[in-house]
Symmetry: C2
Subunit: 186 residues, 2 copies
Amino acid sequence: MSEKTQKAGRGRSRPPVRTDAGDSVSLEEPELNMRIVELLQQDGRMPYSSIASIVGVSEGTVRNRVKQLIADNVITIQAEALPDAFGYKFNTMTFINVAAGADVDAVARRLAQLPDVYYLTMLLGRFDLGMATYHKSQEDFREFLIRHCYGHPDIAEVENSLVLKVHKVKLHWSLDDDARRGPASS
Amino acid sequence: MSEKTQKAGRGRSRPPVRTDAGDSVSLEEPELNMRIVELLQQDGRMPYSSIASIVGVSEGTVRNRVKQLIADNVITIQAEALPDAFGYKFNTMTFINVAAGADVDAVARRLAQLPDVYYLTMLLGRFDLGMATYHKSQEDFREFLIRHCYGHPDIAEVENSLVLKVHKVKLHWSLDDDARRGPASS
DNA sequence: TTGACAGTTTGCGATTTTCGAAGATATCTC
DNA sequence: GAGATATCTTCGAAAATCGCAAACTGTCAA
């Protein structure tokens, strides 16, 4: 890797393309950031130098890009452990309708603080809120329901489903998805 | 870091504790693996040597443990990008009841293959399957529904909710959760 | 009790990688 | 064109990783 004689930087080769929307840099255009992120989606600890040689830029560029992407909250690089590994084996989905006149956001914020809740969204449809929770046991779930859902005047309706099996959890997105989606995509 | 004279390994200081269940090593007991993983949950690229000095073992031990945890599918270390960053801004939840006599698993497997689906579970309750999807537009979602849900004889009922706001996505678990859960925990 | 045995941990040197700083190149503005 | 801005590259020092052999400990059988 040292056949290059001393040669100064070649400068930027990519114009500062900006998406029409005025927001910050994203990953929508299949550019350098995208290719870097796709590699880090395969292995979050891949050395910058390896990424650099694959995508064809210098190590420093990869390092700066990743640092910027993380700082901008576009990506995160973290270890993930399945809740099962921590003993949380009782997995449920709970749907909630708030009482008439109640503050949906307030209810959502209150529930979102609970450590058992790992997914909470505001919905438009049959229910106002959808919530996924993990518990160590059925008894823990019962206590969770009693304490945090039933008896609260701002919660009018609660419907529960037990998660029997998680078939798929997809955390990673890439532009390749477009290709895989199938032909007739209008 | 070199004030130590040549000294061979001290050997293992942790007995091979095994949880009563006979399954493979997990993260349930608050041991070394747990502390390593918790650090990697904060920064997936934290150097092994830094982790080692924090938890008080050698770098090689941390490296071996992490390698093993990844090989055992207990943890993953990967970059995550929000679907928004890739242009997937139309977020829905779809609930499905399969037709009487149909194979729930087969339906689940078919849907799980679709790139738009990022979460798919088998449920016990009002619906048989719960599915979360991301699409680039409302029109894409409509096509998704028509092609993959409606018209399939093994799908009897479909109910959709639009995700208006994701309040919480929790990917990381730790034993600290137990402490935060509150006092009266039976 | 004793002696393998298996599983981990450690130390270490060679190789890679990271890091920070400085120079180079291109774009944009005036 | 000159200057400002932003990004990329190079480079050497510092740090981290990797592979391996040796050492340690608890288990199990004799």
